[in-house]
């Protein structure tokens, strides 16, 4: 919000003028009524391993993050470039594997990937799209550059908060909206549905959303999206496969299903193929997929692109497939399985952030500068034992954004990141804005909802001011 010299950035100017008219008490009232509305509407997420108050609201901060048009235009181009390259990469490694034979990526890394699905080599996914929905995490470094932190190409969640946060902001500050010129985000569900219909194997298709069920942490989002799209939300037990076709059990008997927007990971999708103990999946669904009778979004096998080791190679993919320089650069990354990198990582553990290659949600991570000696040593052992499974990055000082906090100053800077949502259907659509997550604890860099994070509305302006 403020530049190096303490000046308000131009795109925040108008917002500040309007905002200053509010007294602290008025602001506080607005804040409380928004919190209450969230709880009443059940806009909550479930916390695993916490049975007493299993539902929590995702704390919402009323100060919006504002992005001027020209900055957003750059982000948008960068995201489109990235998802295009990732899809070309997935097609390639599941077919000719040219990028491997040309020596751009050492084959070992792909073939040893936990989420590389050998079974799907030479399988043609509908419309040749692998990642249909992507939620890429962006951060800004101390110089104000946007960097990609990770690509979430499996089942990224959080978009319902983008939509609900916007709804709350509009209700709370109607006047602000009128004047600020904020690009709407409300058409996201329509775009999502359009994409799902685009990949259908038949015309006049039945589209459903497959959820793990109401105990899943993102269940609110699943029902929300299904409702907005006007499609059925189904659980594994609602579906049945006969003759390689998928049906849902209805009060009028079995009805065919053609497109499944699944919010279940590959591993749990089909107990006859993947995890035998999965109670969430549908036996035979993979067979139906292979037979071309259903389409899945996202496709099976995209997990390899989420592998944090693959992340390291994305700039090379962009160069290799598109012959372009990445518009959004990566955070500098070290691979523990490269000897030189490993040496550097092990020598500098207390300065680095170490991440397990296939974990998400802030789990399996070591924040070197904040870790205890024991934690550091623990990771040292793990890295030596399984170097393929770890990467390390320098600690990036995330940009901070004024946020309402308890305490004397009332508003203080807190670290934020940004997750825009990209839909890849007939064309690639990036929802303007995305989820700004904020680490509510002072000094904390972890923004995950499961670990004390909150969110903000993200405004992309029509202009630059």
């Amino acid at each position: 919000m403020v530049d190096d010299c303490g000046q308000i950035r131009p795109h925040y100017q108008q917002f500040r003028e309007l905002f200053q008219a509010l007294t602290r008490k008025e602001f506080e009232n607005k804040r409380q009524s928004v919190d209450l509305a969230f709880l009443r509407q059940g806009i909550t997420f479930n916390v695993y391993g916490d049975s007493a108050g299993a539902e929590k609201i995702f704390p919402f901060d009323l100060l919006p993050r504002i992005i001027p048009a020209s900055e957003w235009e750059m982000i948008e181009r960068g995201l489109v470039q990235r998802i295009t390259a990732l899809n070309l990469f997935l097609h390639d490694i599941y077919h000719e594997q040219k990028i491997l034979s040309d020596g751009v990526i050492p084959p070992f890394y792909v073939l040893s990937g936990k989420h590389f699905r050998r079974e799907f080599v030479n399988f043609n996914v509908p419309r040749d799209i692998y990642i249909h929905v992507c939620g890429t995490d962006l951060i800004r470094d101390d110089k104000g550059n946007y960097l990609v932190l990770e690509d979430n190409g499996r089942c990224p969640s959080g978009v319902s908060y983008v939509l609900e946060n916007r709804r709350s902001m509009k209700r709370t500050f109607p006047v602000l909206f009128e004047r600020a010129g904020v690009r709407p985000v409300e058409h996201y569900p329509q775009e999502l549905l359009k994409m799902l219909q685009h990949i259908s194997p038949v015309a006049g298709s039945t589209v459903v959303l497959l959820t793990p069920g109401c105990y899943n942490s993102a269940y609110f989002e699943h029902t929300y999206l299904a409702r907005q799209m006007g499609i059925e939300i189904v659980e594994g037990r609602d579906l049945v496969v006969r003759d390689s076709r998928v049906f849902m059990r209805t009060t009028k008997g079995l009805q065919p299903v053609h497109v499944i927007y699944r919010r279940i990971d590959d591993d749990f999708l089909d107990p006859t193929i993947f995890r035998r103990d999965s109670m969430l999946g549908v036996p035979g669904i993979v067979q139906a997929y292979r037979a071309g009778n259903i389409s899945l979004a996202n496709s099976i096998g995209t997990g390899i692109a989420d592998d944090k080791v693959m992340y390291y190679f994305v700039p090379r993919m962009i160069k290799y497939y598109l012959d372009q320089e990445p518009i959004l650069p990566n955070v500098p990354t070290y691979l523990a399985s490269e000897e030189a990198d490993k040496k550097y990582i092990l020598e500098n553990l207390s300065k680095l952030v170490v991440k397990a290659a296939n974990e998400s949600g802030g789990y399996g991570m070591l924040m070197g500068p904040k870790a205890t000696k024991a934690q550091v040593e623990d990771f040292r052992k793990k890295i030596v034992a399984e170097p393929r499974n770890f990467i390390a990055q320098p600690m990036i000082s995330l940009s901070r954004h004024p946020t309402r906090v308890d305490g004397d100053y009332y508003f203080e800077g807190r670290h934020v990141d940004l997750r825009p949502y990209i839909i890849y259907g007939e064309k690639i659509v990036v929802a303007p804005g995305g989820l700004t997550r904020v680490a509510l604890r002072k000094g904390s860099l972890v923004v995950n909802s499961s670990q004390g994070g909150g969110s903000k509305d993200t405004w992309v302006l029509y202009g630059d001011q």
Binding site: L39, R40, Q41, G42, G213, C214, Y219, F220, T223, Y224, A226, R227, E232, I233, V234, E235, R237, D238, V240, V241, D243, S244, M248, R249, T250, T251, K252, G253, L254, P271, T272, R276, M279, P283, G284, Q287
Partner: protein, 354 residues
Amino acid sequence: MLSRVANSLYWMSRYIERAENIARIVDVNLQLLLDLRNLNEERLAQHWRPIVQTTGDEQQFFQLHKKATGNAVTEFLVFQMENPNSLVSSICQARENARMVRDQITIEFWEELNRLYWFVKTPQARKTWNESPSEFFQQIKSSSLHLIGLSEATLIHNEGWWFSQVGKFIERADKTSRILDLRYQVPPEQAAPARNTQADASEADALEWSAILRSCSAWDAYKSLCGAQVSPKLVAEFLLFNEDFPRSVRFCVTELNRALRRISGVAEGRFCNSAEKLAGRLVAELQFSTVDEIFEQGLHFYIDQLQTKLNDIGGAMFDAYIFQKFNNLEDEIMVQQEEQQQQFRIRSERTEVA
């Protein structure tokens, strides 16, 4: 409509109705105690025990409590989570079902149910209860009625909605019959069966019968129809057979029957599944029965049978629409693997031929 969704809508409104009726039963009994004199411990137990019996969870109750004291019974019926049919449990289950079909209900409906849920789940509920049970029940009742209104006025009346209507009316018919039965669960010497029906009930009896009416919100309707005199026969007739009172058994079963037919599209007078057959039969029975016949065979006996019939309708509906051979997972995996093997065999045979 997904079978699971239909099932959830059915149970959602059934549990809302259940919570409301528990509130009615307990509220009226607490108020009744204010009117009764000479209450010793034994008399009190005789007052409370039938209430547990009415709700049909007597076994469960005595696993949790030694004696049917006022505190134990109200705790059991209102707050105890170990009792799956307690008021708070019912609200939790209604919300759990609503959560599963969140896409089928409106934001207004969901918000109100959620508000009710948070009301009973927070310490505020106990506080209200301690200060004034009556106020507590008032809140539950009005929230439930609010929900019924929201369902009527904001939800689309599609197939799923009719399933929720079935749930609501089956529960209401059942609970009205149980409330009516309250009076008859009292041990015989207390409950002097009203054979001599022309005679006015004693003062205490009159109090109890009017309590029954009030717990069904039927007091005013009854008075305007039958006058201020409370006779057991007239009360039973009103709560069982009245055509127009929305909590009478006949009214509920008629609506239930109508809802079933809206789901299938089959006209009245015909049926396409046993739920419709049983519901149609019960409507006819209620239309063409008189209260004298019932008192001859005994009201309690009649109500017992009535409840069995309602259960059968619920069961038959489940068989017709919900329960479609839910294979267990192991079986389903076997089926799929056999199918996949079969296809593999066909494919390899073809290659051999080629």
